[in-house]
């Protein structure tokens, strides 16, 4: 059927790149925090050397994340409105998120203090309290999208899980790079077992993420017109296919799995860096492919 649009108007995308950055930093932070707790809370001793650097990185990232969010606000001086109890909106993921983002850094700071003073028991209890906070902080960003029924690309039950695992993934990758750097400059070297565990964890999560992606594809391909259009658009999107999928997931996976690269620290480092970039691209494509389908 021949048809021609006579009149229609464009609708501006309300967000800039700060929003995916914000989600990204929040994820990185949550990811590295959880890594930090592996020794302090879950008692996996070989992660002990990572506990403090991971916690500190996590805290620093947590300062970056809200900064990005505030940068994107059109009324940055009003950010405190989110913490006015009277304005709290119990149906808004962002309302919960704002509180989480306030409580979590505080808990994080206290936690760092106790690692620093080596009060292991207190650290463990604090860690136990803070882990759920970290998980929620990150899952909430997934919910912020999943709860938007307007956009087929976001409105998926897989979203929070996907956000969480990729947060962990980026956290681990970042820590791995930090570990390599520590090894470079510190006298006491980290054990090889640590690297192996990190590597295996990354492989596991990469596979999970790929599984999420596959599930997305399959469901969207047979979904509504908008859902179908989103996935097809995504598959046309170089940043998504070439960036997120190939460079951010498949290549690092290969590097981590293939026998002639997996033992090599440079490859490991490269794989981690690719993952760190890939996870950012994942945030980016989630946000902006969502806007590629006009709704009106």
């Amino acid at each position: 059927m021949d048809a021609t649009v006579l009149y229609n108007v464009p609708h501006e995308v309300p967000w800039k790149v700060y929003i995916p950055l914000y989600f990204y930093f929040t994820g990185l932070s949550a990811g590295s925090f959880i890594l930090s707790t592996l020794s302090t809370v879950f008692g996996i001793k070989r992660f002990k050397p990572m506990a403090l650097p991971a916690a500190i990185i996590s805290f620093l990232l947590l300062l970056l994340a809200p900064a990005c969010l505030i940068l994107d606000l059109h009324q940055p001086t009003r950010f405190w409105h989110t913490l006015v109890p009277d304005y709290f909106n119990r149906t808004s993921a962002l309302s919960f998120g704002s509180w989480l983002l306030t409580l979590y850094p505080i808990a994080n700071l206290v936690y760092i203090y106790f690692i620093w003073v080596k009060a292991d028991r207190v650290t463990k209890i604090l860690g136990m309290i803070t882990v759920p906070l970290a998980i929620f902080v990150h899952a909430y960003t997934g919910f912020a999208f999943a709860l938007v029924r307007a956009r087929a690309w976001w409105h998926s039950a897989l979203m929070p899980g996907y956000f969480l695992t990729s947060a962990l993934l980026s956290g681990i990758a970042l820590l791995l790079v930090v570990a390599l750097l520590m090894d470079l400059f510190r006298k006491e070297k980290l054990e090889a077992e640590l690297y192996k565990s990190l590597r295996l964890m990354m492989i596991g999560i990469l596979l999970t993420d790929l599984f999420w992606n596959g599930s997305f594809w399959l469901t969207l391909l047979v979904s509504t017109a908008d859902g179908y259009a989103s996935i097809m658009l995504a598959l046309h999107e170089r940043l998504y296919v070439g960036g997120e999928l190939v460079c951010g997931m498949l290549l690092p996976l290969a590097m981590l799995v293939l026998p002639w690269t997996r033992e090599d620290r440079s490859w490991l480092c490269l794989a981690s860096l690719l993952i760190i970039g890939g996870v950012f691209l994942m945030r980016y494509s989630v946000v902006f492919i969502g806007f590629d389908i006009p709704l009106s």
Binding site: D2, A3, T4, Y7
Partner: protein, 750 residues
């Protein structure tokens, strides 16, 4: 709520793009960014609708529709234009004239997109706000600001005004008794009476009208020829008609006024009466899309179609005039409309009888042979017994105005003069006319050469394509800052008049002195009055205190005469309106429908002799036939300056049928070149491939591709103005093709 004033202020500041208004037009300032006209209001205050606000009822001037409008003026700034609930165009059931003004506050009325956008016309940052005189050659864009005293002195006495040699002043021209032409574009009844007075008093002066007014006059002539003198122009009475056949007329696209026309058609179509509508148009206009039948005719072949319908009517036993020899199937072949369709249209017409209406549009009138075709189309009405007032066609109801015109003793008839402004004269004045945009091939070279017109004065609100060539630009006020007495178009059946009055600026009731928002601008009447007084023309002399007659006193007097004439015509004008105040406050006075007396028996005999159509269209001819049309929210150049309207569609695109596009390998939205067959002129635009246009035909909307009014930088007192290129987008068909449409063009991919 306490800080209404502050909020008010913010809103107003936003509306006017900051300080641009108070700083005067930025044409006078250093290069500065074009002020954004509308800057998004801080909080709309509910109180804003109600307090500190004046509601002024007046008449729209954005098109000849003359709808009643209600202007919301907040502390001196016009913030909103809506419909006037007292006006029969704005609302189906207008408030009775006696309704107190306060009660009208919560009543509203309709207004079209162009009418609402009038605010942007008033606050156009490119308005001329001081008298300008050129300091370079004509059209060089270099100007010097003058005072009104200087203007009057220079124009009256003349001299070596431009360092190009001696130029006769108005005094000399007057004494010589020849040589002044006043070219008037769209003007209302009251202003025309004023100009009649001026031209009559100026020995040897003549009034000339632009193409628009000449076309209007031709439309009246055609209707008078068919229905008898004084009948025209005619319009369809959608509320009563049973079958309307629009031929080259697109009432939902370019209806005048769109407001009541659209309402009438919507009600007729939707609210269940037996109303049928066919639209003959090569293009699927909105009207055609909403009609029951779309009849895509070959452009320029409407006479063949009219003849065909006449033949078919004759076959139905209806008395036909003497027709040229052309059989029905020949008519069908020549017009591109099938015999079945023609017969069907004839049957529908015959069935509707007196409640049929066949309406020719301006696109018929502008064709070569246009007057004859228009008469032929109109006589289809007469054939089936439809005359103005019989149900299908509306009848004029403003004959009381003609009486006033006569009483004023105008030596020259009020009807538009056919004298062309293209004859060399000593001095040319233009007002509300933009012939250079409209007809650049003739007007531009003529006006550019001082030998043709040694003294060229434009009275204009902005530097238009025409006034850019003038020697002097005298800053006019807009329709929102002037008085006028306005006649409604023929589709309005309620007898009455609209009265225009200034809605912004300050008015001193005692002296009758009006100061517009830009202090150095003047209503045209005041400008002309100033010059006329300087020349000592009779009727324009100052009073014993040396004061010139105010514009206000002219219109108050005229309005009084009109009201008297309405009374003598038997209309029940309430006696308390004698002070004219109540009429002014309501933006005019309209009285209920008046039963019309039919011009009995005159109609069916008066079918004029028809010319023979010019043979068959050449189907092998090269190129595509270009036609033009109007968008309902876009008019001519003046409205192209309105961002609210340009936002919808910023440029005109070439509508082309899918099959033609395929053949020419043109993709949707591709850039194409349209050129004349001789290859001399061309234009570049985007293609819009649509199913709703006859193959072999391409169409473009009018009113785009402006070259002035902010598009080009001007130097005024050494300061260069900035530009706004949004106003230049698209193509002015007038610059592409000399002569009337349809014309053949070649289209190719750029």
């Amino acid at each position: 709520m306490i800080d209404v004033t502050r909020r008010e202020f913010l809103r107003l500041a936003g509306l006017m793009g900051g300080a641009s208004l108070f700083a005067g037009c930025h044409l006078f300032k250093e290069p500065a960014p074009v002020p954004k006209f509308i800057e998004g209001a801080p909080g709309v205050d509910p109180i804003e609708t109600l307090t500190g606000i004046d509601h002024m009822f007046t008449v729209c001037g954005m098109c000849p529709g003359n709808c009643g409008i209600r202007c919301r003026v907040a502390q001196g700034t016009l913030v909103k234009i809506g419909g006037n609930p007292y006006h029969p165009v704005s609302v189906e059931t207008p408030l009775p004239f006696g309704t107190p003004l306060e009660e009208a506050l919560t009543a509203g009325g309709s207004v079209c997109a162009i009418g609402s956008g009038g605010i942007q016309h008033l606050y156009d940052p490119f308005r001329v706000v001081r008298p300008l005189k050129r300091v370079g050659p004509r059209g060089s864009g270099k100007w010097k600001a003058l005072t009104w005293q200087q203007v009057a002195q220079e124009l009256i006495t003349g001299g070596d005004l431009f360092r190009e040699g001696k130029v006769d002043g108005l005094k000399r021209i007057k004494d010589a008794g020849q040589g002044l032409t006043f070219l008037v574009g769209r003007a209302d009844w009251g202003a025309m009476r004023f100009l009649d007075g001026f031209v009559n008093a100026f020995p040897g002066a003549s009034l000339s009208r632009d193409r628009a007014a000449r076309l209007d006059a031709a439309a009246v002539e055609a209707a008078d020829a068919v229905f008898g003198p004084g009948s025209g122009p005619v319009a369809a009475d959608y509320r009563n008609a049973r079958f309307v056949l629009s031929i080259g007329d697109a009432p939902l696209d370019s209806g005048v006024p769109l407001v009541s026309t659209a309402r009438g058609i919507a009600q007729a179509r939707v609210e269940g009466r037996s109303f049928r509508w066919a639209v003959v148009d090569p293009r699927l206009s909105v009207s055609a899309a909403k009609a029951d039948f779309w009849v895509p005719v070959i452009p320029g072949r409407d006479l063949d179609l009219a003849l065909g319908i006449m033949r078919a009517l004759a076959d139905l036993g209806i008395k036909a005039p003497k027709l040229p020899e052309q059989a029905l199937d020949a008519c069908a072949k020549a017009s591109g409309v099938s015999v079945e369709t023609i017969v069907r249209l004839a049957k529908l017409l015959a069935e509707a009888g007196g409640k049929a209406a066949v309406i020719p549009g301006k696109s018929i009138l502008t064709q070569p042979n246009g007057l004859e075709t228009t008469k032929a189309v109109l006589s289809l009405n007469a054939m089936v017994g439809s005359v103005p007032g019989s149900g299908g066609l509306t009848a004029r109801s403003d004959d009381f105005l003609a009486a006033v015109g006569k009483n004023l003793g105008s030596a020259k008839p009020g009807s538009p003069q056919t004298k062309s402004y293209l004859n060399p004269v000593k001095a040319l004045f233009t007002w509300q006319a933009d012939p250079v945009y409209d007809d650049p091939f003739h007007a531009e070279p003529f006006l550019r050469d001082p030998k043709n017109v040694p003294l060229f004065v434009a009275i204009d609100t902005c530097i238009s394509e025409t006034s850019a060539l003038a020697d002097y630009i005298l800053p006019d006020t807009t329709y929102l800052e002037r008085w006028d007495i306005c006649v409604s178009p023929p589709s309005v059946t309620q007898p009455g008049i609209g009265v225009r009055r200034p809605v912004v600026g300050s008015f001193e009731p005692v002296s009758g002195k009006y100061s517009p928002i830009f202090p150095e601008t003047r209503p045209m009447e005041e400008i002309v009055g100033l010059l006329a007084a300087g020349l000592g023309l009779p009727g324009f002399e100052p009073d014993k205190d040396g004061n010139l007659r105010t514009v206000w006193s002219f219109y108050r007097g005229l309005l009084g005469k009109v009201l008297d004439s309405m009374k003598s015509a038997g209309l029940s004008v309430p006696s308390w309106t004698t002070g004219v105040e109540a009429v002014l406050q309501r933006g005019g006075i309209f009285l209920g429908d008046r039963p019309v007396s039919l011009p009995a028996g005159k109609a069916s005999q008066s079918v004029p002799e028809l010319p023979k159509p010019p043979g068959f269209p050449d189907s092998t001819a090269e190129g595509l036939l270009l036609i033009t049309y109007s968008l309902p929210f876009h008019r001519t150049a003046a409205e192209a300056q309105n961002s609210w309207l340009l936002e919808i569609v910023p440029e005109n695109r070439l509508q082309i049928n899918h099959s033609d596009a395929q053949r020419l390998k043109i993709e949707q939205h591709a850039t194409v070149i349209v050129e004349t067959l001789d290859g001399k002129h061309s234009a570049t635009c985007k293609a819009l491939i649509v199913p709703g246009i006859k193959p072999g035909v391409v169409a473009m909307a009018k009113g785009f591709g402006y070259r002035e009014s902010g598009v080009r930088a001007h130097v005024i007192d050494q300061a260069t103005s900035t530009t706004d290129e949004t106003r230049a987008a698209g193509v002015n068909l007038g610059r592409l093709l000399p002569g009337p449409l349809p014309q053949r063009v070649r289209v190719r991919k750029a």
